[in-house]
Every structure is written in C-alpha cells, then in structure tokens.
Amino acid sequence: MIEPYGKVLILGCGTCMTVCDAGGEREISFLHSALDLAQARSGNGVHSFSEYTIKRQCDLEFLEMLLGRIEDVDAVLSLGCGIGVQAVAERFPDLPVLPGVNTSFMGMTKEWGVWDERCAACGDCRLAETAGICPITRCTKGILNGPCAGAKNGKCEANKDMDCAWILIYQRLERLQQLENMRRYYPPRNFRTIPRPRRIVSKATVEVGVNNE
C-alpha cells in the first residue's frame, strides 16, 4: 500500500482510536517501529516515516494542525477510523491518504484488551423493546424473533463462548417484568438496503430577518 510513496506521515487520532488502542500515540509509534524494522529487514530503505497525532481526525478544524507537516510528505497513513481517512482526504485534495486501520465495528471495552460489538447504526432502533440488548449486532443471525433452535445452554450454536442474545433479552425482560414485550406484534422491520449516504440535520431552516410566524 505504501510502496509508491517515499515520505509517509503516520497520523494518529487522539479520541476514539486512542480509546480503542487502535490508532493513538502509542500505536502510531509501534507501527512506526514496525515499518522501520520491516524496511531495514528488506534492505532497501526507500521510505522515510514520521509520526503525528491530532486530537480528532474527523473534524476539519483539527486537520488544520497538519499544515506545515504535510507539505513535504508523499502520503498520509491515517490510523483514524474510516471517517478520519475520508476527512483527511477531503481536507487535502492533493494528498494521497491511506487507511492504516481496518475499521470493524462500534463496540465497547469488555475488559482491558477485549472489545465487543454493540451497535450497527442501522437507523431502526429496537432497543426499547428488547430490554436494551441489540439483537441485530449480538445475534449471529440478526433475527428479530429469537431465540432460534440453535441456542443451547444460553450459548449460540455458532460459537460456544458467545451468549445467545435472545436468551439474554428474555432473561432481562423477565427480570424487568416486561415479558409481554415478546408477546406483542411488531410490524416487519425494513430490511431493504439503507439508502446511503445518510445525513442528519439538527439545525432548523430559518431565514434571518424574516418573520417566520
């Protein structure tokens, strides 16, 4: 990926990627050393690397801090999530930007060094009905009428270490005395492809100086 480029800036992200241990300052340094080592090992040192971490790559204002650091680099290797890579690309139209992280999912830290997926950002949230446990991301099949026949001792047939999301939902609804949630009829979920890109506008459309009433 970096082969065509001589000078490469490894760019870290100081917010989510740091929290996920995937692209913070430490990870940047580690990747830097790994790349240096790989290059030294191959014996033809054509690349030179530098490293820098900004607070957040997904805001254009933070990207201004790269001015003065990117003029003489041939490419940026961004360890931001997919959003960070795109933001850098958008801000610097003439600069090649490479993704250093294969952004996988939205999740949470289970314990030190272990992360679990929790949300698919589907835009059709069912958590109110499922006692705060998402069947879309936590059920292997993503079904809305589980548990399926593959649940055994509360575990999923796909992975014996993985809890069955629907068993968890049942248990928690029972605990909350809301089991009727499972007996209710729900209209079918929209499984059509989400029309992308989505946009959320939180500001109202107002015309200044005109009486809107």
């Binding site: 000078k7 100081g14 917010t15 989510c16 740091t18 929290v19 241990d21 913070g24 300052e25 430490r26 990870e27 340094s29 580690f30 830097h32 050393s33 790994a34 240096d36 080592l37 790989a38 290059q39 030294a40 090992r41 014996g43 040192g45 030179s48 690397f49 530098s50 490293e51 820098y52 971490t53 830290t109 314990e111 030190w112 060094g113």
Partner: protein, 708 residues
C-alpha cells in the same frame, strides 16, 4: 539487518518528555521526617540496584558525617515510613550503614578552597559544631574548632558508648575536617567570647552541648555513690574505671539511662536495675536499645521513683515510691502520680541519675540564657543577643539527637555565611510538594509483603562483657532485599499530558493496585499518595499521556537502548543480542555480566528498572537497530510485585505478531521470567537462547547467499 537513516520526530519527543518530567517527584515522608532532609528514597533505590557507590554519593551529599548517623541515628525516617502501613518500615539506617561500610571513605571529596578571609570560631566539637565547621569550610571560610577535651566529637565521644559507635568511625569522619583545612584546638576550654572576637574571629558559633546532669532534688542526692548519667558516661568514655560496687541502679528512661545501665553491665556489674517513673510505652529511649538492654539482663523497673537516699554500711539505702499513670500532660504523656503508702527500700552500691541534662554556659560568654539553662537564639538566624555570636545544638535545644545537631550545624553555617556576606537570612525551602496521606486499604492489600531484615546483633551473653559493637552489618544480599522493600513514595505515575488523555480508562483497568479513579467530573485521577510507581499504566496508556515522576535525570529506556546499540555497533561479534534486564534482581547486580562472556554471541544489556516498564516499541526498535535477538530478563522471585511477568509476556506476544508479519522468526525474542531459584542456571538458559539466535542468524545468511 542494517539500519537505515530514518527521519523521525522521536528524538525531540523524548527530549520534551525528559524536560517536563525532571524533578517533579514529591518529597517522601522519610525525607520530610529527616532533620537533614536526606534523599533517602534515592539512596535506598540505588542500594536495591546494587549501585552502592552511587548510593554512598547520594548519602554523602546530604550528610557531612554519614558513618556516625549510620550507627546512632534515631531514624525518624523509619517512624514516618509508609511501609509501616503494610508490614514494617524499611530498615533505612541499616541500609545506610551497609553503604557506608561497603564504600568506606571512598567517594569523599575533602578539598575545600579558601574564598574568604573572615575567620569563624566554633566553640565545642560535638556534631553541631563539626557539621557547622564542615559546611563553613566548604563555603570557603577559615574555621577554628575549640574543644575542651583532648579529642573531638563532644557527646559522640564522651556520651555515646563504644558498643554503639566505634571510636574508629568518629576518628575517620573527624579527620576529614583536618584534611579540609579546619584548624583544631583541643584541650582548649573557652571561657570568654570577647577574647575570641578580639583574636579576629568575625563570628562565633557556640555549641557547647548539654553536659550538666539534672538533679532529682531529693534528700541524700549529695551522698557519695550517687553520680549523674552524663558524668558517668564521660568518665568511662575517657578511659576511667569508676568503682561501682555490686548493685547499681540507674534512674531515668531516656537513651542516656539505658546507655549508662548497659555500660555498667560491661564494667562487670551483674545486678543492674533501671528505675523509671512511667511505663514502657512512655520510655523516650529508642526501642532497639531497650530491647537489647533487656536481652542483656538489665532489670527494668517501671512506675518507680526514688524519694530518699540514705547512707548505710558503705552502701546506699534508697527509698522509692510506686507510681500510677494519671492524666496526660501538655505533651500528651501520662503524668505519673505517687501511690500513697507504697514506699519501699532497696540497697544499692551506686545510684546513677540520668533524668536529663542541661547546658552549662560560662558566664563569661555573655549570652542570654533561658528556660532550662539553654542559650536563647533567634530560631531562623541562630544569632544570640550578642552580634556575631551564634549558637545551636543541645546548648540551645536541650538534649536532642545527633542528626538534629548535624542539621542545626549545617543551617547555622548557612546563616553565618549570610551574616558574613550581609545577606538577608532566608529559611531554606524545598519547592517540591510533600507527599502526604495514608495508603488506602485496597492499595495495601495489593502490596506484596516482604519481611523486614533487622540488623543481626551479637548474642547477649557474648556482648555484655565488653565494649565491642552490638549490631553487625548486612551482607550484600540482605541489603539489596531490604532495599527492595521501599515503596518509592512520591515517584508514582502522573498524567502529565492531561490534554492527550482520552479518558480511555486503560490505566484504571491495568493498575495492579487499584489506584486510578474517575472523579465526579469524569476526569481520571492517579493520586500520587497511593501510586506504587510500577509503571504499567505508563506503558499501556494508548495516548502516552502518563509519565513516572523522576527525582533525578535518569535515562529513559529508549535512551539507554540507543546508547547500548551505539556501543554495540563497534563490536564485530555476531549475532548481536540485546537484553532488557531488570536492575533490581540477580540479572542486574552484575551477576549476569559473568554469564555472557562464554556465549558465542555479542550480548548487550539495556538496564531497566523493572521489566514491566519495557514497551513493545523498545523491543521492536532493538531489532530495527540491528539486534538479531532480544531477550527480557526480570528478577523473578525477587520481584517486589506480583504480575510483572504477565505484562512482559503481553508485550513479547505483541512483538512476535509483528515479527511474524515482517518475516522474522518469532523465536528471536524471548522473556526469561524464571530465576535461578527455580529453573537452575540462568547462564544455561541464556546460552540456549544465544545458540538458537545464532542458528537462526546463520540460516538467514545462508538464505541470503542462496537468493543472490
């Protein structure tokens, strides 16, 4: 692998961190409690690393006569030691003694050059006077010490018995003053300060001590056979042998009383009693001494006070009364109250009264004397009512400790310097913050218990007959193990770069001691009074926001690594192997140095203070800079922590993953966690590893040849 020139921003980052972390450690309780404010934490740490000479250097920086303190200091530092909250305090004085005995008089720079012409006279050569002379000489003043006795030392020589402080120790320390160019006038009793001032001395420091024994004020105290403690000790220490009879009682509960009783025992008297008017808990004498006295067979009688002394058949008939403890007085000690009708008589040949001493200031000095005959001085400047005349030590404070006297002497030297140079005298202040606060129960629970090693003493039967030293010193291993018990208070982790912190909570999750916490505003805090300075969070922080507080300009691991690899580049022996070795354990204390000589490889050691601080990045960089193999050697069983091994292996596995991707055999990195104690010979293990790396290295060369 040849390393290529790489443009990197790393160097400047390191410098920035170094600058910002310099000396922001907190003052630990031991240092705060020490009258001399010695850098105890630092020298204990150096002893733990086996760097005894450097420890001695630190000790000498803070103390003009460390050997003396090493024997007789009452170690307020140990009272303040926070290890007490876990098990028992670190044996600080014993460690200092080890360093001092090990290094002897080396590391001493006794030169002093004269920078001033104004002469200073010091009256009295006790610890305060000697310390003052030492520092004034260092500042460049011509100094003369006047001593009434034939030898220097004051109470060090005439008060403290030889079995506690060998005279050779006093001699060596005192001789240094002569080498520095301090003029010594022994057998010279100063009776008038006017004479000294007329002789051209611009300032006089009066440290005449407190040698006058206090009296009980009871009937018959004048009888022959009654002597005061200070006089008795002085006579014995000056070589006299007072005739004591067969039964001796010492009145008092302080160190002088215990010293007197033990001295009596050593003069051949078998029946020695100590009469003290309060109970064991109130005894001001140091615990060690009381314990040793009891071992030696001295009979301690508590809640007893003599009320009348009669002469009878050449002996003494002492009437005493029993006491009970009443209300606490203003110092918090419970006041003894006589029990009516409890009088009883006992027969002794000699009664030694050691209930305190006061200074005896000659009238010719013309200085104002206050409560308890002590000389009155300004507490900051040490100046008396006479211009140019300063005073300090027991003569001002009443009987106190050697260390306190040394501290006063040093301060007085600086104030005399201020006076001579017409500077406004300012009290010295340490700008660093003090560490305070108790350890929390959850922190204490996680701290590994390690038994305190007290100094061995010679058996009571053997020692009670002569004046040979009672306490014996540490051996090498005992000293290092004892030093490792230090909790290194105030050197813990600090979120120095708060702006980088993403509040990811890694530190909170990885801390073995449950120290970091989230405050009400959602900010992560690492309280310095709880942190145990293991460094795990520093290495695991994904934002590199945390650093360890460092008291000295210590090298970072990355700097050590660079340094080592630069040196290694000069060597032609291949393969090159880099080892990150714990400095605290066996691998650090020089033992390993002997092991790799035979190995068929060039092995270079990067010293680290705990392998839990080695980052995955460091290991990768060792490879990058040309190493063929890397190993990490911890101190194993000796480790003061529980889970170092876990963290080392985490990082080794991470590096192995990357090595595999790059096409380097993961076997080239290895962690030696087992120690000599369980896995036999560390040399063998290292040899095996060197051989393995050697083979891999050869194979890779052959592969290269084949390819080309």
């Amino acid at each position: 692998m040849n390393s290529s020139v790489i443009g990197s921003t790393r160097e400047c980052q390191t410098t920035a961190i170094k600058k910002s972390t310099l000396d922001h450690s907190l003052v630990p309780p031991c240092q705060d409690a020490c009258p001399l404010h010695m850098d105890i934490r630092e020298y204990v740490d150096l002893v733990a690393q086996g760097r005894i000479m450097e420890a001695l250097q630190v000790i000498r920086n803070g103390n003009p006569f460390p050997s003396i303190c090493a024997y007789v200091c009452t170690h307020p530092c140990e009272e303040a030691c926070r290890r007490t909250q876990v098990d028992k305090p670190v044996a600080i004085r014993a460690l200092k003694r080890f360093a001092v005995e090990f290094g002897g008089d080396k590391m001493v720079r006794a030169e002093a050059e004269s920078k001033h012409t104004e002469k200073v006279a010091i009256v009295g050569s006790g610890p305060a006077g000697l310390a003052c002379a030492y520092y004034l000489r260092k500042l460049g003043y011509p100094v003369t010490v006047f001593e009434a006795h034939s030898e220097l030392g004051g109470m060090l020589r005439v008060g403290i018995p030889q079995y506690r402080l060998p005279r050779t120790v006093v001699d060596t320390e005192v001789q240094r003053l002569t080498k520095m160019g301090v003029e010594i006038r022994t057998n010279t009793r100063v009776v008038s300060l006017d004479l000294l001032l007329n002789m051209g001395y611009k300032a006089v420091f009066v440290t005449i001590g407190a040698h006058q024994g206090l009296r009980m004020g009871i009937e018959g105290e004048e009888s022959p056979g009654v002597i005061d403690g200070a006089t008795f000790l002085r006579e014995v220490n000056l070589g006299l042998k007072p005739s004591l009879g067969k039964r001796v009682a010492v009145v008092g509960g302080g160190n002088v009383a215990v010293d007197a009783a033990r001295t009596v025992l050593r003069l051949g008297v078998n029946e020695v009693k100590i009469l003290y008017r309060r109970s064991r808990t109130e005894m001001p004498a140091s615990d060690e001494e009381v314990k040793q006295a009891m071992e030696e067979g001295i009979d301690l009688q508590f809640l007893v006070v003599p009320t009348r002394i009669g002469r009878e058949n050449g002996g003494l008939n002492v009437t005493s009364v029993r006491m009970e403890l009443g209300e606490p007085d203003d110092k918090g000690r419970r006041r003894p109250v006589p029990i009516e009708g409890s009088e009883f008589n006992e027969k002794f040949d000699t009664l030694i009264v050691a209930i305190g001493q006061a200074p005896q200031t000659p009238g010719g000095f013309g200085v104002r004397v206050g409560k308890g005959s002590t000389i009155q001085v300004d507490p900051v400047t040490f100046i008396t009512n006479r211009p140019g005349v300063f005073a300090g030590g027991d003569a001002v404070t009443g009987p106190a400790t050697v260390t306190e006297a040394l501290a006063t002497g040093r301060l007085a030297a600086y104030r005399i310097d201020d006076y001579m140079q017409h500077r406004y005298p300012l009290a010295d202040k340490d700008s660093r913050e003090k560490l305070s606060g108790e350890l929390l129960p959850e922190t204490i629970e996680m701290i590994r218990r390690i038994d305190r090693l007290d100094l061995p003493t010679s058996p009571p039967q053997a020692r009670a007959n002569d004046f040979e030293q009672v306490e014996l010193g540490y051996g090498w291993e005992a000293a290092i193990n004892e030093a490792r018990r230090c909790l290194r208070c105030g050197m813990g982790a600090d979120i120095l770069f708060q702006y980088k912190c993403a509040t990811c909570l890694s530190c909170l999750r990885v801390c073995p001691y449950h120290v970091p916490y989230l405050d009400a505003s959602g900010t992560i805090r690492i309280p310095p009074d709880q942190c145990q300075a293991c460094g795990v969070c520093v290495v695991e922080c994904p934002a590199k926001a945390i650093v360890l507080r460092k008291p000295y300009d210590r090298r970072h691991i990355s700097e050590e690594l660079e340094h080592v690899l630069k040196a290694a580049a000069q060597s032609n022996v291949r393969p090159l192997i880099v080892g990150f070795c714990c400095q605290y354990g066996l691998f650090g204390t020089g033992t390993l140095a002997g092991l790799w000589r035979g190995a068929g490889a060039s092995i270079w050691i990067v010293p680290v203070l705990c392998t839990a601080r080695v980052e995955a990045d460091h290991m990768l960089r060792a490879f990058e800079m040309g190493a063929e193999g890397v190993f990490i050697a911890g101190c194993g069983e000796q480790c003061a922590r529980e889970n170092t091994d876990f963290w080392v292996r985490q990082r080794v596995e991470k590096v192995r993953g990357v090595l595999t991707q790059i096409g380097i055999q993961p076997e080239r990195i290895q962690a030696f966690v087992s120690t000599v104690t369980n896995d036999g010979d560390p040399a063998e293990e290292l040899d095996r590893f060197a051989e393995q790396v050697g083979n891999l290295y050869l194979a890779s060369i052959i592969m290269q040849e084949v390819r080309s």
